[in-house]
Symmetry: none
Subunit: 260 residues, 2 copies
C-alpha cells in the first residue's frame, strides 16, 4: 500500500523543511504552490505568479503544470540536484532544480504552498506497447502475405543511400518490392520517403521494375493522389489483425527473454 503524507496549511518555513526532507529521501512529491518560475538553459523563460501544481519524482524528474494544458509549462527531465530553502529576505520558498548536461536550471519562488503530498509509490507493473511501427514491420516481414499477395521477404531495414527501407520483398513475378510502413494514416511525406528509396534503389538495380508500396491502416487523399501519380501502390493493413500477431509474438518474446 502506498505511503502517503499530506501537509496542509503549514507555514512556508515548515514547507521548505518538509520539501527538503522529502526530496532528500527521494519521495514522490506533489505540491500546490502560488509561485513564479524562471528557467535558464538552452532557452529561457519567465512565468509570472500564479497557482500551479508541481511534481517532483523520486528520480528527480521535475514538472510544473498550470491548471490547463497537457504539457508542463516548465520542467526538468532529469536533475543533478534539487535544492529547497526558505528565503528569509523575500519570505518565500525557493526550489532550484538543476541539470548539468545541458546546463539548465529551473527556479521556483513560492509565496504560498497550501498543500504538499509526499508519497512512496510501489510500481513494478510492466508496460506493453502494442503495434509500434517496428512491430508491424517484424510481423509483416514474418507474414508478408498479410499484404494481400504472395510476397517473399528479402530484407528488413535494408540500407539504401538516403536511409532504410522498412521492408524489401519480391512478388510472385520476381519483381523487387519496396514497402514503407506507417502505423497510422499515411501522409504525403510517407509517399515522398518511399519515392526517395525507390529512386535510390533504381540507380543500383538499373532497369529492373521496382514496385513501391505504402502499407498503412489508411491514407490521406493528397497522399493517394501523389501515390497514383508516381505509379506506386497502397496496401491497407488491419491493425487488429497485426495486434493479434503482436500479442502472440509478445508472449513468445517473453519466453525467449526468460531463457537468454
Amino acid at each position: 500500500m502506498a505511503k502517503v503524507e499530506v501537509f496542509e496549511r503549514i507555514d512556508l518555513r515548515k514547507a521548505a523543511e518538509v520539501l527538503s526532507k522529502a526530496v532528500r529521501s527521494r519521495r514522490n512529491i506533489y505540491l500546490i504552490a502560488k509561485c513564479d518560475v524562471e528557467y535558464y538553459g538552452r532557452s529561457s523563460s519567465k512565468l509570472e505568479e500564479g497557482e500551479r501544481q508541481i511534481i517532483i519524482k523520486s528520480d528527480g524528474a521535475f514538472l510544473i503544470h498550470r491548471p490547463t494544458g497537457h504539457s508542463p509549462v516548465n520542467w526538468q527531465p532529469e536533475t543533478s540536484y534539487i535544492n529547497v530553502e526558505f528565503d528569509e529576505e523575500e519570505g518565500k520558498v525557493i526550489i532550484k532544480a538543476v541539470r548539468s548536461k545541458p546546463r539548465e536550471i529551473v527556479v521556483v519562488r513560492a509565496s504560498e504552498i497550501p498543500l504538499i503530498v509526499s508519497s512512496v509509490l510501489h510500481d513494478s507493473g510492466a508496460f506493453y506497447m502494442y503495434v509500434s511501427e517496428k512491430e508491424i514491420r517484424d510481423i509483416l516481414a514474418a507474414h508478408p502475405t498479410l499484404l494481400g499477395e504472395k510476397f517473399v521477404t528479402i530484407d528488413i531495414e535494408k540500407k539504401v543511400e538516403p536511409g532504410f527501407i522498412d521492408l524489401y520483398l519480391k512478388d510472385g513475378k520476381g519483381n523487387v518490392v519496396v514497402v514503407e510502413i506507417k502505423r497510422s494514416t499515411a501522409r504525403v511525406d510517407a509517399v515522398r520517403q518511399l519515392k526517395k528509396y525507390i529512386d535510390a534503389l533504381s540507380k543500383h538495380l538499373g532497369h529492373e521494375r521496382i514496385r513501391g508500396i505504402i502499407a498503412a491502416p489508411s491514407i490521406t487523399s493528397k497522399a493517394y493522389e501523389l501515390l497514383a501519380k508516381e505509379k506506386l501502390e497502397f496496401k491497407q493493413i488491419n491493425l487488429k489483425v497485426i495486434t493479434e500477431y503482436a500479442k502472440k509474438k509478445t508472449s513468445a518474446k517473453g519466453i525467449l527473454e526468460f531463457f537468454k
Copy 2:
C-alpha cells in the same frame, strides 16, 4: 487563494463519487491510485497494476505518471469527456478519458485510491519564452537601433581586461557605448559588471566619454539606483520584438543554407 480539498482513506465507491463530481465541476484533480491502465487509439498499450499519480486538469487534460521518468506513461492531451464510475462487479473505480479526434481512449481501473486532491487554481500569470542571451546579442548587433537611438555596431564580444563586452557601439555623436545585455531582470551585479568594463576601457581610451548601457527586459530598483549613481543608463528591450527578429533570422539562415 487556492481552494484545496483533500480526501484521504475514503472507500472506492465514495472516491468514484468525489472524482465524478470534481470532473463535472472542472476542478484540478490529483490522485494517487493503485491501478492498471489501457490505451487504444493510434497505437495501444497496457500498463499492469501499480501505484501511480494521476492529474486531471480543468480543461480535461489527463496525465498518468509513474514514480519515475519525465513523461507520462499514458495521457490524453484533450478529452471530449471523462467518465468516472464505480464498477460493482470488479469493485474498482473505472476512469475513462475519451478523445474524439483522433479517436482514442484511456481506461484506468483503480483498486485503491489512497488520496484525492481537488482544487480550484487561479493562474493568470503571463508566460514569456525568450531567446538566449547570445541570440539577443546578435540581433541587437544587427539592429542596434532597437536600443532606441542611432547606434552603430563596432564590435561583438569585444575583449577587455576583465572579460568580454557584449556589445560595443558608437552613438550619433561618436561616443563609445558599452552595452551589457541581460535576458532577464538586471541586478546590481550586472551594473557592477558594466562599470568594470567601462573602467577597464577608459584606461585605453583616456578621457574620451564612454556611455554604459544595461539592456534588459527589466531592472531591479537596487540596480537602477547604482546605475544612476554611476551615471550609467538602462535601455529596456522588448523580448517579443527580439523574438520576432529571431524568427526572421532563422528563415534567412534557411535561405542562406539553400544557396551555399
